[in-house]
């Protein structure tokens, strides 16, 4: 059974990541917009039901991507949901398609059978978008698309991470990281150079060409322009282990999120564990600034820090709503859960596309160049041995989700 992600079509509607649909056949789902009513944990299922189903009285709401009614604020609350307004379904993987999917690129990404997407596998800058896949415990490859089509950037790396993730320095090298004897590698052109020789890197945050941070287990590494060194002491306490999952950093702020309700924030030259953090195993963090930091946990909660307090801004519904990755720009925060992706803006969370929780489909990561050029990576793991390995990439142009 093929996997298929139906896109927001002309008639709007959120992307329905339907395991049962065919990959090459658009299956738009329309008319599922809802305005937020301010409830903190609600998701409207349809436009008709939105107003009725949304919680009322909270500070924020969660809404589905709207159908043709973009910027629908009919449900009240303090913001509206985005509506899909354009068609944007690309052709089937491996099939010629003269219609550009993204920029001038006409062919969807199609890795060879057996390729695996791991957590946070996609990254972009103005030069293009890149994806890392792995095919064994040590073989990984990076494919890039500069807008003209997908090209294999690196040969199979025999010493690559076993669970590779990808980020990069804007206009600089890509950064491949994961579990490996060389946990962090810089990829420039086709050359893969070991940069951080630890055995694991769970997350990496790039600040600029000279500053970056990484986390693994209970430790934080900083990049000094030449190599990575441990930054501060271990984050575990006695009989209180810490397992980090995410890091976000700017020139003056470093935030690390971990299991068991632990968030660490830079204060001076040290990380301090934050008090009064909502419970949950945190998996992702993104910041717009020192007083506007977002963390996502396995409970599906988007937790916000305003410079003083951490509080739950929204809770995504469902049993598989655990937040996996975050990326933001301007006033919009994009998120992925295990089985869905969406955005948060002006107090409203909006699902742009989702898979069934019961299926083997997963949303693995998000990155973007602007809030009108955001990329998502998904995979149907039961199709891993099929053509394209069940991998599908999408991009959001600010109004609609399209194949990539």
């Amino acid at each position: 059974m093929l996997s298929f992600l139906s896109m927001l079509a002309a008639c709007g509607g959120r992307a329905s990541l339907n395991d049962d649909a065919g990959r090459s056949t658009p299956a738009p789902s329309g008319g599922t917009s809802a305005g937020a009513r301010g409830g903190s944990t609600s998701v409207a299922g349809s436009s008709a039901a939105a107003a009725a189903s949304a919680d009322v009285g909270g500070s924020a709401g969660v809404a589905d991507a709207g159908g043709g009614r973009s910027a629908d604020t009919s449900g009240g609350g303090n913001s509206g949901s985005l509506g899909g307004s354009s068609s944007g379904v690309g052709g089937a993987a491996g099939m010629p398609n003269d219609t550009p999917l993204w920029r001038s690129s006409t062919e969807p990404f199609c890795p060879p059978p057996g390729s695996v997407l791991n957590r946070n596998p996609i990254w972009s800058d103005a030069r293009g978008v890149s994806v890392v896949t792995s095919s064994s415990s040590t073989d990984s490859r990076i494919d890039s698309n500069d807008g003209s089509g997908w090209k294999r950037l690196t040969e199979d790396s025999k010493s690559g991470p076993s669970n590779p993730s990808l980020t990069g320095f804007p206009y600089g090298p890509l950064v491949e990281y994961g579990n490996s004897a060389c946990a962090i590698s810089f990829v420039e052109g086709t050359v893969n150079r070991c940069s951080g020789a630890g055995s694991r890197a769970t997350a990496v945050s790039i600040v600029d060409a000279q500053v970056a941070y990484a986390v693994y287990d209970d430790r934080v590494l900083s990049f000094n322009g030449s190599f990575w060194v441990q930054w501060g002491g271990v984050l575990s306490g006695k009989d209180d282990p810490t397992y980090t999952w995410g890091v976000w950093a700017s020139k003056d702020t470093v935030v690390v999120v971990a299991d068991a309700g632990k968030i660490f924030l830079q204060q001076g030259m040290k990380l301090q564990q934050q008090a009064a953090v909502p419970a949950g195993d945190y998996r992702a963090v993104w910041g717009f600034g020192a007083t506007d930091i977002w963390a996502g946990n396995q409970l599906g909660e988007l937790v916000h820090f305003d410079g003083k307090n951490w509080s739950v801004a929204a809770t995504l519904p469902g049993e598989c709503a655990g937040i996996r990755s975050l990326w933001g720009r301007d006033d919009t925060l994009f998120f992925t859960t295990d089985h869905a992706f969406g955005l948060w803006r002006a107090g409203v969370a909006q699902i742009l596309g989702d898979f069934s929780c019961a299926g083997s489909s997963s949303v693995m990561g998000v990155w973007g160049n602007s809030k009108k050029e955001v990329f998502f990576a998904t995979q149907v793991t039961e199709l891993i041995d099929d053509a394209c390995s069940g991998v599908e990439l999408f991009w959001f142009d600010g109004t609609a989700v399209k194949a990539l």
Partner: protein, 444 residues
């Protein structure tokens, strides 16, 4: 805590206690100054006068003077070894050969390894090393001092995995430049099971140390050329690191042990899980995972974490001096620390085992040699180069050739123990000792 004290009966050389099996093996009259570890200066003169005959070793046992050695006996070429004292176990009167199985494998064809080697031979030794124990290889290590080169073999069996029992075992061979000879062998019946990852080291002109499982327990053992084995300390450690002739260190998961005054004892708790130790008379370096690099700068100093350590899992350390220390990590990189600045060197290693740099050895002229599980290389003062590298293509996921140990005497006499699994089916097995002359590798 004193773990054990080596007997200090340093005049046991001539006693028959340590002569078991010597004659059977060392037909040219080996005499190995047997027991009495690291003879003190006062006993130097007798250091080589032991065993059956008088050793003609070119070097005295520790403290002994060469001119005094070798008197009155047939010229032998076995080493003068300081050994463990009266607590030694013996291999029995049947001689060492009795512990070596009959090698029924077909003759070994000419070895053509998948890398460049020169004509066979080291000094006057041209016959390749031959190991008759057969089984799953657990160790092939090398250590050398001015007496010559020592090779340690350990094989085990696993019937369930398809490796039949009966010919596995442990042996120690020695070559002083004239040929290989057997110094010790553990018979198959006693060698069942794992050897605990045996490792080899020793004191210059003194005892040879083995760490691992022999015959019935894990520990640090010293071995005499006559086939006599002594348990120095019942601790499970990796390769002991010796410093000079009377100081050594070893570590387990929690503690650093020190050998001094002929005694192994608990020395200090490890500041972090440790992968390797290097020491001289004054300083000790420890390295391990999670950027763990610790220096003990003086005898009285505590271990201190070195600042600014590049992230990594550190696997090996070698120091040429206070401001000249080298490290290897699991990513196959070499790193240099001059006391304030770190520098990272790529080696070009293609080892995907994850073990990275397995061992470092430095020559007195400042050249650093290293090995990974499949490669050997050096830093010659200017650049890092691989001296032994497997071909990029055609190699199966399980490498044909793996390295087991690295040691040297100088930058033009460096030894590397390698195993070629394609030759395990032939007589003498797939273990080959290589000698690097500064330019080329040679088997011997």
């Amino acid at each position: 805590m004193v773990l054990s004290q080596r007997a200090v009966g340093l005049v046991l050389w001539a006693g028959s206690t340590f002569s078991f099996g010597c004659g059977a093996v060392h037909s040219d009259g080996p005499t190995l100054g047997a027991a009495g570890a690291r003879a003190e200066a006062g006993s130097a003169g007798s250091a080589n006068q032991g065993g059956d005959g008088v050793g003609g070793s070119p070097t005295a046992g520790h403290g002994g003077s060469a001119p005094q050695a070798g008197e009155g006996g047939a010229a032998g070429h076995a080493p003068a070894l300081g050994g463990s004292g009266g607590r030694s176990a013996t291999t029995g009167a049947g001689g060492i050969d009795a512990n070596v199985p009959v090698d029924t494998r077909p003759p070994r064809p000419t070895w053509e390894p998948p890398f460049s080697v020169g004509a066979p031979g080291w000094r006057d030794s041209s016959t390749l090393i031959c190991e008759k124990h057969v089984g799953d290889q657990e160790a092939f290590d090398v250590w050398a001092d001015s007496r010559g080169v020592f090779g340690l073999f350990a094989t085990t069996c696993n019937v369930l995995a398809g490796t039949s029992c009966g010919k596995q075992g442990v042996s120690l061979q020695f070559n002083d430049g004239k040929g290989w000879q057997l110094l010790y062998a553990l018979p198959p019946t006693a060698g069942m099971g794992s050897s605990g990852g045996m490792r080899l080291s020793g004191f210059e002109s003194g005892a040879v140390l083995l760490s691992g499982f022999l015959p019935d327990r894990i520990g640090i053992w010293s071995i005499t050329p006559g086939g006599t084995l002594g348990l120095d300390a019942a601790i499970e450690v990796g390769r002991p690191t010796t410093a000079g002739s009377n100081l050594a260190y070893a570590f387990d998961l929690e503690k650093l042990y020190r050998f001094t005054d002929d005694t192994w004892s608990e020395y200090l708790p490890l500041p972090a899980p440790t992968q390797d130790v290097w020491a001289d008379q004054d300083r000790v370096w420890l390295v391990g995972g999670n950027q763990a690099v610790f220096e003990k700068a003086t005898a009285d100093a505590a271990f201190t974490a070195v600042p600014g350590v590049p992230a990594g899992e550190y696997t090996a350390v070698w120091s040429f001096g206070v401001k000249d220390t080298w490290f290897g990590n699991s990513a196959g990189q070499l790193l240099h620390y001059d006391g304030s600045t770190w520098k990272v060197f790529e080696t070009g290693s293609k080892d995907v085992s994850g073990s990275g740099i397995r061992q470092l050895w430095g020559s007195s002229d400042g050249q650093l040699f290293f090995r990974t599980s499949i490669e050997m290389g050096r830093f010659d003062g200017n650049q890092v180069e691989l001296l032994l590298a497997l071909p990029d293509s055609g190699e199966p996921s399980v490498p044909r050739v793996t390295t087991g140990g690295l040691w040297g005497l100088s930058s033009t006499e460096v030894f590397l123990a390698v195993s070629d699994r394609q030759f395990n089916k032939y007589a003498c097995g797939g273990q080959f000792m290589l000698f690097f002359d500064g330019k080329t590798l040679h088997a011997f």
